[in-house]
Protein backbone atom coordinates (compact mmCIF):
# COMPACT_ATOMS: atom_id res chain seq x y z
CA UNK A 1 0.00 0.00 0.00
CA UNK A 2 1.28 3.45 -0.90
CA UNK A 3 1.66 6.41 1.39
CA UNK A 4 -1.62 7.66 2.94
CA UNK A 5 -2.15 11.41 3.19
CA UNK A 6 -4.91 13.92 3.84
CA UNK A 7 -4.73 16.28 0.88
CA UNK A 8 -6.71 18.82 -1.09
CA UNK A 9 -7.62 17.73 -4.60
CA UNK A 10 -5.37 20.42 -6.04
CA UNK A 11 -2.44 19.26 -3.92
CA UNK A 12 -3.00 15.64 -4.93
CA UNK A 13 -2.94 16.67 -8.61
CA UNK A 14 0.34 18.52 -8.07
CA UNK A 15 1.97 15.67 -6.15
CA UNK A 16 0.78 13.24 -8.83
CA UNK A 17 2.47 15.33 -11.52
CA UNK A 18 5.80 14.91 -9.73
CA UNK A 19 5.23 11.19 -9.15
CA UNK A 20 4.07 10.62 -12.74
CA UNK A 21 7.54 11.63 -13.88
CA UNK A 22 6.52 14.96 -15.38
CA UNK A 23 9.36 17.01 -16.82
CA UNK A 24 7.66 20.36 -16.55
CA UNK A 25 4.71 22.25 -15.13
CA UNK A 26 3.90 25.69 -16.53
CA UNK A 27 1.03 27.59 -14.96
CA UNK A 28 -0.50 30.79 -13.74
CA UNK A 29 -2.43 31.02 -10.44
CA UNK A 30 -6.20 31.36 -10.37
CA UNK A 31 -8.75 30.44 -7.68
CA UNK A 32 -9.91 27.70 -7.07
CA UNK A 33 -6.82 25.88 -8.41
CA UNK A 34 -3.93 28.01 -7.10
CA UNK A 35 -2.88 25.27 -4.65
CA UNK A 36 -1.45 23.34 -7.62
CA UNK A 37 1.37 25.78 -8.29
CA UNK A 38 1.63 26.72 -4.59
CA UNK A 39 2.21 23.06 -3.70
CA UNK A 40 4.74 22.59 -6.49
CA UNK A 41 6.69 25.69 -5.51
CA UNK A 42 6.78 24.56 -1.85
CA UNK A 43 7.66 20.98 -2.76
CA UNK A 44 10.56 21.98 -5.05
CA UNK A 45 10.34 18.99 -7.43
CA UNK A 46 13.45 20.29 -9.25
CA UNK A 47 15.31 18.99 -6.22
CA UNK A 48 13.35 15.71 -6.05
CA UNK A 49 13.21 14.61 -9.70
CA UNK A 50 14.61 17.45 -11.78
CA UNK A 51 11.11 18.52 -12.85
CA UNK A 52 10.82 22.16 -13.92
CA UNK A 53 8.10 24.33 -12.36
CA UNK A 54 7.56 27.73 -13.89
CA UNK A 55 5.05 30.45 -13.22
CA UNK A 56 4.39 31.83 -16.68
CA UNK A 57 3.41 35.45 -17.32
CA UNK A 58 -0.06 34.36 -18.45
CA UNK A 59 -2.14 31.33 -19.36
CA UNK A 60 -1.44 32.05 -23.04
CA UNK A 61 2.26 31.73 -22.33
CA UNK A 62 1.91 28.55 -20.27
CA UNK A 63 -0.09 26.68 -22.93
CA UNK A 64 2.52 27.61 -25.55
CA UNK A 65 5.28 26.41 -23.23
CA UNK A 66 3.49 23.05 -23.37
CA UNK A 67 3.75 23.22 -27.17
CA UNK A 68 7.50 23.61 -26.88
CA UNK A 69 8.02 21.05 -24.11
CA UNK A 70 5.60 18.43 -25.45
CA UNK A 71 7.05 18.86 -28.95
CA UNK A 72 10.38 17.56 -27.69
CA UNK A 73 8.72 14.45 -26.21
CA UNK A 74 8.81 15.70 -22.61
CA UNK A 75 5.94 15.10 -20.19
CA UNK A 76 4.50 18.56 -19.63
CA UNK A 77 1.43 19.80 -17.85
CA UNK A 78 -0.52 22.92 -16.94
CA UNK A 79 -3.60 23.64 -14.90
CA UNK A 80 -5.97 26.55 -14.48
CA UNK A 81 -9.60 27.37 -13.83
CA UNK A 82 -12.30 28.28 -16.33
CA UNK A 83 -11.33 31.83 -17.44
CA UNK A 84 -7.69 30.73 -17.69
CA UNK A 85 -8.63 27.65 -19.71
CA UNK A 86 -10.58 29.89 -22.10
CA UNK A 87 -7.39 31.87 -22.68
CA UNK A 88 -5.61 28.62 -23.54
CA UNK A 89 -8.03 27.48 -26.25
CA UNK A 90 -6.03 28.77 -29.21
CA UNK A 91 -2.97 26.91 -27.94
CA UNK A 92 -4.97 23.74 -27.29
CA UNK A 93 -6.24 23.75 -30.88
CA UNK A 94 -2.64 24.13 -32.14
CA UNK A 95 -1.49 21.30 -29.85
CA UNK A 96 -4.28 19.05 -31.17
CA UNK A 97 -3.43 20.01 -34.76
CA UNK A 98 0.30 19.39 -34.30
CA UNK A 99 -0.43 16.19 -32.32
CA UNK A 100 1.58 17.21 -29.28
CA UNK A 101 1.05 15.23 -26.08
CA UNK A 102 0.42 17.18 -22.88
CA UNK A 103 -1.95 17.33 -19.92
CA UNK A 104 -4.22 20.29 -19.14
CA UNK A 105 -6.25 20.33 -15.91
CA UNK A 106 -9.27 22.57 -15.45
CA UNK A 107 -10.60 23.12 -11.91
CA UNK A 108 -13.88 24.57 -13.09
CA UNK A 109 -15.54 27.60 -11.49
CA UNK A 110 -18.76 29.48 -12.18
CA UNK A 111 -19.09 31.37 -15.46
CA UNK A 112 -19.56 32.79 -18.02
CA UNK A 113 -16.91 35.50 -18.05
CA UNK A 114 -15.08 36.00 -14.79
CA UNK A 115 -18.10 34.49 -13.04
CA UNK A 116 -17.22 33.54 -9.48
CA UNK A 117 -14.81 31.20 -7.71
CA UNK A 118 -17.29 28.56 -6.58
CA UNK A 119 -17.52 25.02 -8.05
CA UNK A 120 -19.31 24.60 -11.37
CA UNK A 121 -19.55 22.14 -14.26
CA UNK A 122 -20.45 24.62 -16.95
CA UNK A 123 -17.29 24.01 -19.04
CA UNK A 124 -18.48 20.63 -20.37
CA UNK A 125 -19.24 22.02 -23.83
CA UNK A 126 -15.85 23.71 -23.96
CA UNK A 127 -14.11 20.47 -22.98
CA UNK A 128 -15.85 18.00 -25.28
CA UNK A 129 -17.25 20.00 -28.17
CA UNK A 130 -14.01 21.75 -29.04
CA UNK A 131 -13.19 24.91 -27.09
CA UNK A 132 -10.81 25.98 -29.81
CA UNK A 133 -11.24 25.99 -33.58
CA UNK A 134 -11.05 23.08 -35.98
CA UNK A 135 -12.14 19.44 -36.09
CA UNK A 136 -10.50 18.06 -32.98
CA UNK A 137 -11.36 16.13 -29.86
CA UNK A 138 -9.66 15.82 -26.49
CA UNK A 139 -9.72 12.74 -24.28
CA UNK A 140 -11.22 14.18 -21.08
CA UNK A 141 -11.02 12.58 -17.64
CA UNK A 142 -13.35 13.71 -14.84
CA UNK A 143 -12.08 12.83 -11.34
CA UNK A 144 -14.73 12.61 -8.61
CA UNK A 145 -12.45 12.30 -5.59
CA UNK A 146 -9.10 13.49 -4.30
CA UNK A 147 -7.84 9.95 -4.95
CA UNK A 148 -8.72 10.28 -8.63
CA UNK A 149 -7.12 13.74 -8.81
CA UNK A 150 -3.95 11.80 -8.11
CA UNK A 151 -4.65 8.59 -10.05
CA UNK A 152 -5.79 10.26 -13.27
CA UNK A 153 -2.56 12.21 -13.81
CA UNK A 154 -0.47 9.19 -14.93
CA UNK A 155 -3.50 7.89 -16.87
CA UNK A 156 -3.71 11.26 -18.67
CA UNK A 157 -0.01 11.18 -19.55
CA UNK A 158 -0.35 7.60 -20.86
CA UNK A 159 -3.27 8.61 -23.10
CA UNK A 160 -1.46 11.75 -24.24
CA UNK A 161 1.58 9.81 -25.45
CA UNK A 162 -0.30 6.75 -26.70
CA UNK A 163 -2.39 8.92 -29.03
CA UNK A 164 -0.17 11.99 -29.37
CA UNK A 165 -2.84 14.38 -28.15
CA UNK A 166 -3.48 16.92 -25.44
CA UNK A 167 -5.55 15.32 -22.64
CA UNK A 168 -7.89 17.25 -20.35
CA UNK A 169 -8.59 16.60 -16.69
CA UNK A 170 -11.82 18.36 -15.77
CA UNK A 171 -12.62 18.71 -12.08
CA UNK A 172 -14.14 21.64 -10.22
CA UNK A 173 -13.73 23.86 -7.17
CA UNK A 174 -15.30 21.26 -4.90
CA UNK A 175 -12.92 18.44 -5.85
CA UNK A 176 -10.00 20.89 -5.92
CA UNK A 177 -10.65 22.41 -2.50
CA UNK A 178 -11.82 19.45 -0.44
CA UNK A 179 -9.51 17.18 1.50
CA UNK A 180 -9.77 13.43 1.49
CA UNK A 181 -7.61 10.46 2.21
CA UNK A 182 -5.37 9.71 -0.72
CA UNK A 183 -3.07 6.79 -1.32
CA UNK A 184 -0.16 8.10 -3.33
CA UNK A 185 1.20 5.89 -6.10
CA UNK A 186 4.88 4.97 -6.27
CA UNK A 187 6.93 7.50 -8.24
CA UNK A 188 7.52 6.78 -11.93
CA UNK A 189 11.03 7.89 -12.96
CA UNK A 190 11.31 10.68 -15.54
CA UNK A 191 12.31 9.49 -19.01
CA UNK A 192 15.95 9.98 -19.91
CA UNK A 193 16.80 11.79 -23.15
CA UNK A 194 17.84 8.43 -24.65
CA UNK A 195 14.51 6.88 -23.72
CA UNK A 196 12.64 9.76 -25.35
CA UNK A 197 14.66 9.35 -28.57
CA UNK A 198 13.87 5.65 -28.60
CA UNK A 199 10.19 5.89 -27.66
CA UNK A 200 9.11 8.97 -29.58
CA UNK A 201 10.59 9.06 -33.09
CA UNK A 202 8.39 12.08 -33.90
CA UNK A 203 9.85 14.32 -31.15
CA UNK A 204 11.84 17.40 -32.20
CA UNK A 205 14.93 16.70 -30.18
CA UNK A 206 17.54 17.02 -32.91
CA UNK A 207 17.82 15.80 -36.51
CA UNK A 208 19.16 12.24 -36.45
CA UNK A 209 22.13 11.44 -38.72
CA UNK A 210 20.80 10.66 -42.18
CA UNK A 211 17.23 11.01 -40.93
CA UNK A 212 14.42 13.33 -41.88
CA UNK A 213 13.96 16.78 -40.43
CA UNK A 214 11.15 16.74 -37.84
CA UNK A 215 8.61 19.53 -37.78
CA UNK A 216 5.89 20.29 -35.25
CA UNK A 217 3.21 22.21 -37.08
CA UNK A 218 -0.52 22.59 -37.50
CA UNK A 219 -0.11 24.62 -40.71
CA UNK A 220 -0.90 22.76 -43.97
CA UNK A 221 -1.61 25.35 -46.66
CA UNK A 222 -2.58 22.82 -49.33
CA UNK A 223 -6.21 21.90 -48.56
CA UNK A 224 -5.75 18.34 -49.87
CA UNK A 225 -2.83 17.83 -47.54
CA UNK A 226 -4.79 19.34 -44.67
CA UNK A 227 -7.74 17.10 -45.53
CA UNK A 228 -5.46 14.04 -45.30
CA UNK A 229 -4.12 15.32 -41.99
CA UNK A 230 -7.68 15.72 -40.74
CA UNK A 231 -8.61 12.18 -41.84
CA UNK A 232 -5.61 10.93 -39.90
CA UNK A 233 -6.80 12.83 -36.81
CA UNK A 234 -10.30 11.44 -37.24
CA UNK A 235 -8.98 7.86 -37.47
CA UNK A 236 -7.15 8.52 -34.20
CA UNK A 237 -10.34 9.87 -32.56
CA UNK A 238 -12.25 6.79 -33.77
CA UNK A 239 -9.58 4.61 -32.18
CA UNK A 240 -9.84 6.53 -28.89
CA UNK A 241 -13.64 6.25 -28.98
CA UNK A 242 -13.31 2.48 -29.44
CA UNK A 243 -10.74 1.94 -26.66
CA UNK A 244 -10.94 4.57 -23.98
CA UNK A 245 -14.52 4.97 -22.73
CA UNK A 246 -14.58 4.83 -18.94
CA UNK A 247 -17.55 4.88 -16.58
CA UNK A 248 -18.70 3.36 -13.30
CA UNK A 249 -22.09 1.91 -12.36
CA UNK A 250 -23.49 2.10 -8.83
CA UNK A 251 -26.73 0.38 -7.75
CA UNK A 252 -27.68 0.09 -11.40
CA UNK A 253 -28.58 -3.62 -11.74
CA UNK A 254 -32.20 -3.36 -10.62
CA UNK A 255 -32.66 0.35 -11.32
CA UNK A 256 -35.81 1.78 -12.88
CA UNK A 257 -34.10 5.15 -13.29
CA UNK A 258 -30.51 6.27 -13.60
CA UNK A 259 -28.78 9.44 -12.52
CA UNK A 260 -26.01 10.29 -14.96
CA UNK A 261 -23.33 12.51 -13.44
CA UNK A 262 -19.60 13.14 -13.32
CA UNK A 263 -17.16 14.75 -10.88
CA UNK A 264 -18.62 16.35 -7.76
CA UNK A 265 -22.21 15.95 -9.00
CA UNK A 266 -21.67 12.20 -9.09
CA UNK A 267 -20.70 12.29 -5.41
CA UNK A 268 -23.85 14.25 -4.55
CA UNK A 269 -25.96 11.90 -6.70
CA UNK A 270 -24.55 8.90 -4.78
CA UNK A 271 -26.09 10.33 -1.65
CA UNK A 272 -29.34 10.94 -3.56
CA UNK A 273 -29.33 7.25 -4.59
CA UNK A 274 -29.16 6.28 -0.89
CA UNK A 275 -31.95 8.69 0.07
CA UNK A 276 -34.09 7.37 -2.82
CA UNK A 277 -33.49 3.72 -1.94
CA UNK A 278 -34.58 4.46 1.66
CA UNK A 279 -37.88 5.64 0.16
CA UNK A 280 -38.14 2.53 -2.04
CA UNK A 281 -37.30 4.28 -5.31
CA UNK A 282 -35.07 2.08 -7.47
CA UNK A 283 -32.53 4.48 -8.86
CA UNK A 284 -28.87 3.93 -9.69
CA UNK A 285 -25.97 6.02 -10.87
CA UNK A 286 -24.02 5.99 -14.09
CA UNK A 287 -20.86 7.91 -13.26
CA UNK A 288 -19.21 9.24 -16.39
CA UNK A 289 -15.40 9.15 -16.09
CA UNK A 290 -14.38 10.08 -19.65
CA UNK A 291 -16.47 13.06 -20.74
CA UNK A 292 -15.04 12.28 -24.18
CA UNK A 293 -15.15 9.60 -25.43
CA UNK A 294 -18.68 9.43 -24.01
CA UNK A 295 -20.32 6.29 -22.58
CA UNK A 296 -23.02 6.22 -25.29
CA UNK A 297 -22.96 2.43 -25.61
CA UNK A 298 -23.88 1.70 -21.98
CA UNK A 299 -26.65 4.31 -22.16
CA UNK A 300 -27.91 2.54 -25.27
CA UNK A 301 -27.83 -0.80 -23.44
CA UNK A 302 -29.89 0.54 -20.52
CA UNK A 303 -32.32 2.11 -22.98
CA UNK A 304 -32.67 -1.24 -24.80
CA UNK A 305 -33.30 -2.98 -21.47
CA UNK A 306 -36.22 -0.63 -20.89
CA UNK A 307 -34.95 1.84 -18.28
CA UNK A 308 -37.73 4.30 -17.45
CA UNK A 309 -35.57 7.40 -17.66
CA UNK A 310 -32.25 9.18 -17.17
CA UNK A 311 -31.68 12.29 -15.07
CA UNK A 312 -28.51 14.16 -15.95
CA UNK A 313 -27.18 15.87 -12.83
CA UNK A 314 -24.70 18.64 -13.64
CA UNK A 315 -23.82 21.97 -12.05
CA UNK A 316 -24.79 23.66 -15.31
CA UNK A 317 -27.89 24.60 -17.29
CA UNK A 318 -27.72 21.20 -19.02
CA UNK A 319 -24.74 20.37 -21.22
CA UNK A 320 -23.91 16.65 -20.87
CA UNK A 321 -27.66 15.98 -21.11
CA UNK A 322 -27.35 16.63 -24.86
CA UNK A 323 -24.94 13.69 -25.23
CA UNK A 324 -27.27 11.46 -23.22
CA UNK A 325 -30.14 12.49 -25.51
CA UNK A 326 -28.04 11.63 -28.58
CA UNK A 327 -27.34 8.17 -27.15
CA UNK A 328 -30.99 7.61 -26.18
CA UNK A 329 -32.33 9.02 -29.45
CA UNK A 330 -35.87 9.59 -28.21
CA UNK A 331 -36.47 6.06 -26.92
CA UNK A 332 -36.93 7.00 -23.26
CA UNK A 333 -37.18 10.08 -21.05
CA UNK A 334 -34.06 12.18 -20.48
CA UNK A 335 -34.20 15.16 -18.13
CA UNK A 336 -31.66 17.50 -16.58
CA UNK A 337 -31.25 18.97 -13.12
CA UNK A 338 -28.56 21.31 -11.90
CA UNK A 339 -27.89 24.52 -10.03
CA UNK A 340 -26.05 27.32 -11.80
CA UNK A 341 -23.34 29.89 -11.23
CA UNK A 342 -21.40 28.06 -8.53
CA UNK A 343 -24.32 26.95 -6.37
CA UNK A 344 -23.92 23.30 -5.35
CA UNK A 345 -27.11 21.26 -5.47
CA UNK A 346 -28.01 19.25 -2.39
CA UNK A 347 -28.66 15.49 -2.47
CA UNK A 348 -32.27 16.23 -1.44
CA UNK A 349 -32.79 18.63 -4.38
CA UNK A 350 -31.49 16.01 -6.81
CA UNK A 351 -33.92 13.41 -5.45
CA UNK A 352 -36.78 15.89 -5.64
CA UNK A 353 -35.92 16.59 -9.28
CA UNK A 354 -36.04 12.86 -10.03
CA UNK A 355 -39.46 12.58 -8.42
CA UNK A 356 -40.85 15.62 -10.19
CA UNK A 357 -39.27 15.38 -13.62
CA UNK A 358 -39.18 11.63 -14.20
CA UNK A 359 -41.35 9.69 -11.76
CA UNK A 360 -44.18 12.18 -11.55
CA UNK A 361 -43.60 13.74 -14.97
Amino acid sequence: MGELKLMKGNEALAEAAIRAGADGYFGYPITPQSEVIEYLMAEKPWERTGMVVLQAESEVASINMLYGGGGTGKKVMTSSSSPGISLMQEGISYLAGAEIPCVVANVVRGGPGLGDIQPSQSDYFQAVKGGGHGDYRLPTLAPSSVQEMSDFVPVAFDLAFKYRTPVLIVSDGLIGQMMEKVELFDPIPRWTDEEIVEMHPWATNGKPKGGERRIMTSLYLDPHVLEEHNYKLQRKYAEITKNEVRYELLDAEDADYLFVAYGSSSRIAQKSVRLAREKGIKVGLLRIITLWPFASEIINEFTEKGIKGFLSVEMSAGQMVEDIRLAVNGRTKVEHFGRLGGVIHSPEEVLEALEQKLIGG
Binding site: L6, Q177, M179, K181, Q270, K271, R274, P347
Partner: protein, 180 residues
Protein backbone atom coordinates in the same frame (compact mmCIF):
# COMPACT_ATOMS: atom_id res chain seq x y z
CA UNK B 1 -20.61 4.33 11.48
CA UNK B 2 -20.95 7.60 9.62
CA UNK B 3 -20.69 10.95 11.38
CA UNK B 4 -21.55 14.09 9.42
CA UNK B 5 -20.39 17.29 11.12
CA UNK B 6 -20.44 21.00 10.40
CA UNK B 7 -18.03 23.22 12.31
CA UNK B 8 -18.80 26.91 11.91
CA UNK B 9 -17.47 30.15 13.34
CA UNK B 10 -15.24 33.12 12.55
CA UNK B 11 -12.18 32.90 10.33
CA UNK B 12 -9.19 32.66 12.69
CA UNK B 13 -10.92 30.60 15.38
CA UNK B 14 -9.28 27.45 14.09
CA UNK B 15 -12.47 26.05 12.59
CA UNK B 16 -10.76 24.61 9.51
CA UNK B 17 -7.82 23.17 11.44
CA UNK B 18 -10.11 21.56 14.00
CA UNK B 19 -11.84 19.81 11.12
CA UNK B 20 -8.52 18.83 9.63
CA UNK B 21 -7.29 17.26 12.88
CA UNK B 22 -10.56 15.35 13.18
CA UNK B 23 -10.19 14.11 9.60
CA UNK B 24 -6.58 13.07 10.16
CA UNK B 25 -7.61 11.22 13.33
CA UNK B 26 -10.14 9.28 11.25
CA UNK B 27 -7.42 8.28 8.79
CA UNK B 28 -5.25 7.11 11.72
CA UNK B 29 -7.92 4.55 12.55
CA UNK B 30 -8.48 3.44 8.94
CA UNK B 31 -11.70 5.32 8.30
CA UNK B 32 -12.84 7.23 5.23
CA UNK B 33 -12.85 11.00 5.69
CA UNK B 34 -13.75 14.14 3.79
CA UNK B 35 -13.12 17.79 4.68
CA UNK B 36 -14.94 20.40 2.63
CA UNK B 37 -14.38 24.05 3.57
CA UNK B 38 -16.40 27.06 2.60
CA UNK B 39 -13.93 28.99 0.55
CA UNK B 40 -13.92 32.37 -1.09
CA UNK B 41 -13.75 36.04 -0.19
CA UNK B 42 -16.07 35.52 2.79
CA UNK B 43 -13.24 33.75 4.62
CA UNK B 44 -11.12 36.84 5.11
CA UNK B 45 -12.19 37.97 8.60
CA UNK B 46 -15.71 36.74 8.00
CA UNK B 47 -17.39 33.45 8.73
CA UNK B 48 -15.73 30.12 8.05
CA UNK B 49 -17.18 26.66 8.08
CA UNK B 50 -16.14 23.15 7.21
CA UNK B 51 -18.07 19.96 6.64
CA UNK B 52 -16.26 16.88 7.95
CA UNK B 53 -17.44 13.33 7.35
CA UNK B 54 -15.87 10.36 9.11
CA UNK B 55 -17.18 6.99 8.02
CA UNK B 56 -16.51 3.27 7.85
CA UNK B 57 -17.83 3.32 4.28
CA UNK B 58 -17.05 5.13 1.04
CA UNK B 59 -18.23 8.71 1.42
CA UNK B 60 -20.78 9.98 -1.08
CA UNK B 61 -21.52 13.70 -1.05
CA UNK B 62 -18.88 15.83 0.69
CA UNK B 63 -21.40 18.68 0.94
CA UNK B 64 -24.60 18.23 2.89
CA UNK B 65 -27.76 20.04 3.97
CA UNK B 66 -28.25 18.21 7.27
CA UNK B 67 -25.80 17.10 9.93
CA UNK B 68 -25.49 14.65 12.83
CA UNK B 69 -23.57 17.31 14.74
CA UNK B 70 -23.20 21.07 14.41
CA UNK B 71 -20.34 22.76 16.28
CA UNK B 72 -21.28 26.44 16.40
CA UNK B 73 -18.90 29.18 17.46
CA UNK B 74 -20.58 32.48 16.57
CA UNK B 75 -24.04 34.01 16.24
CA UNK B 76 -24.09 34.10 12.41
CA UNK B 77 -23.40 30.39 12.35
CA UNK B 78 -26.09 29.75 14.95
CA UNK B 79 -28.60 31.60 12.77
CA UNK B 80 -27.56 29.55 9.76
CA UNK B 81 -26.92 26.07 11.12
CA UNK B 82 -29.19 25.42 14.13
CA UNK B 83 -31.92 24.24 11.77
CA UNK B 84 -29.56 21.96 9.83
CA UNK B 85 -29.08 19.50 12.72
CA UNK B 86 -30.91 16.25 12.02
CA UNK B 87 -33.70 15.44 14.51
CA UNK B 88 -32.05 13.53 17.35
CA UNK B 89 -28.70 15.09 16.49
CA UNK B 90 -26.28 17.16 18.51
CA UNK B 91 -25.60 20.89 18.69
CA UNK B 92 -22.47 21.97 20.55
CA UNK B 93 -21.79 25.66 21.00
CA UNK B 94 -19.66 28.18 22.83
CA UNK B 95 -21.94 30.74 24.52
CA UNK B 96 -19.26 33.42 24.24
CA UNK B 97 -20.66 36.00 21.81
CA UNK B 98 -23.99 34.21 21.39
CA UNK B 99 -26.99 36.47 21.96
CA UNK B 100 -29.74 34.14 20.70
CA UNK B 101 -29.29 30.73 22.27
CA UNK B 102 -30.52 27.60 20.49
CA UNK B 103 -34.17 26.75 21.09
CA UNK B 104 -34.77 23.42 19.37
CA UNK B 105 -36.16 20.65 21.55
CA UNK B 106 -35.76 17.69 19.16
CA UNK B 107 -31.95 17.69 19.38
CA UNK B 108 -29.45 17.46 22.25
CA UNK B 109 -27.70 20.73 23.01
CA UNK B 110 -24.33 21.01 24.72
CA UNK B 111 -22.35 24.04 25.82
CA UNK B 112 -18.59 24.50 26.14
CA UNK B 113 -16.99 27.67 27.47
CA UNK B 114 -14.13 27.22 25.01
CA UNK B 115 -12.98 30.83 24.73
CA UNK B 116 -12.98 31.35 28.51
CA UNK B 117 -11.19 28.07 29.26
CA UNK B 118 -8.53 28.68 26.61
CA UNK B 119 -7.90 32.17 28.03
CA UNK B 120 -7.63 30.69 31.53
CA UNK B 121 -5.08 28.20 30.22
CA UNK B 122 -3.11 31.19 28.98
CA UNK B 123 -3.31 30.53 25.23
CA UNK B 124 -6.37 31.58 23.24
CA UNK B 125 -5.04 29.68 20.22
CA UNK B 126 -5.93 26.34 21.80
CA UNK B 127 -9.60 27.37 21.81
CA UNK B 128 -10.39 24.97 18.98
CA UNK B 129 -8.77 22.06 20.83
CA UNK B 130 -10.93 22.72 23.89
CA UNK B 131 -13.97 22.60 21.61
CA UNK B 132 -12.65 19.44 19.93
CA UNK B 133 -12.30 17.84 23.39
CA UNK B 134 -15.90 18.75 24.20
CA UNK B 135 -17.04 17.25 20.92
CA UNK B 136 -15.10 14.02 21.48
CA UNK B 137 -16.62 13.65 24.95
CA UNK B 138 -20.09 13.74 23.36
CA UNK B 139 -19.16 11.70 20.27
CA UNK B 140 -16.08 9.55 20.90
CA UNK B 141 -15.81 8.67 17.20
CA UNK B 142 -12.02 8.81 17.27
CA UNK B 143 -9.70 7.68 20.06
CA UNK B 144 -7.61 10.31 21.83
CA UNK B 145 -4.41 8.47 20.86
CA UNK B 146 -5.43 8.77 17.20
CA UNK B 147 -6.12 12.48 17.65
CA UNK B 148 -2.57 12.88 18.95
CA UNK B 149 -1.28 10.90 15.96
CA UNK B 150 -3.42 13.12 13.72
CA UNK B 151 -1.95 16.24 15.36
CA UNK B 152 1.56 14.95 14.71
CA UNK B 153 0.68 14.40 11.06
CA UNK B 154 -0.99 17.77 10.51
CA UNK B 155 1.38 19.99 12.50
CA UNK B 156 4.82 20.89 11.14
CA UNK B 157 7.58 19.32 13.25
CA UNK B 158 8.64 22.65 14.78
CA UNK B 159 5.26 22.81 16.54
CA UNK B 160 5.40 19.29 17.96
CA UNK B 161 6.52 20.69 21.32
CA UNK B 162 3.00 22.16 21.56
CA UNK B 163 1.30 18.76 21.38
CA UNK B 164 1.14 18.27 25.20
CA UNK B 165 -0.57 21.68 25.50
CA UNK B 166 -3.07 20.63 22.83
CA UNK B 167 -3.69 17.39 24.69
CA UNK B 168 -4.34 19.34 27.90
CA UNK B 169 -6.77 21.55 26.01
CA UNK B 170 -8.66 18.52 24.69
CA UNK B 171 -8.87 17.09 28.24
CA UNK B 172 -10.08 20.48 29.51
CA UNK B 173 -12.85 20.42 26.89
CA UNK B 174 -13.82 16.86 27.79
CA UNK B 175 -14.14 17.78 31.46
CA UNK B 176 -16.12 20.96 31.01
CA UNK B 177 -18.74 20.20 28.39
CA UNK B 178 -22.24 20.72 29.80
CA UNK B 179 -25.49 19.22 28.57
CA UNK B 180 -28.36 21.69 28.49
Amino acid sequence: MTEEIIIAGFGGQGVLSMGKILAYSGIMQDQEVSWMPSYGPEMRGGTANVTVIVSDERISSPTLSFFDTAVILNQQSMDKFEETVKPGGVLLYDPNGISKHPTRTDITIYKIEGARLAAEMGNTKIFNMVVLGAYLKIKPIVKLENVIKGLKKSLPERYHKLIPLNEDAITMGMKNVVKI
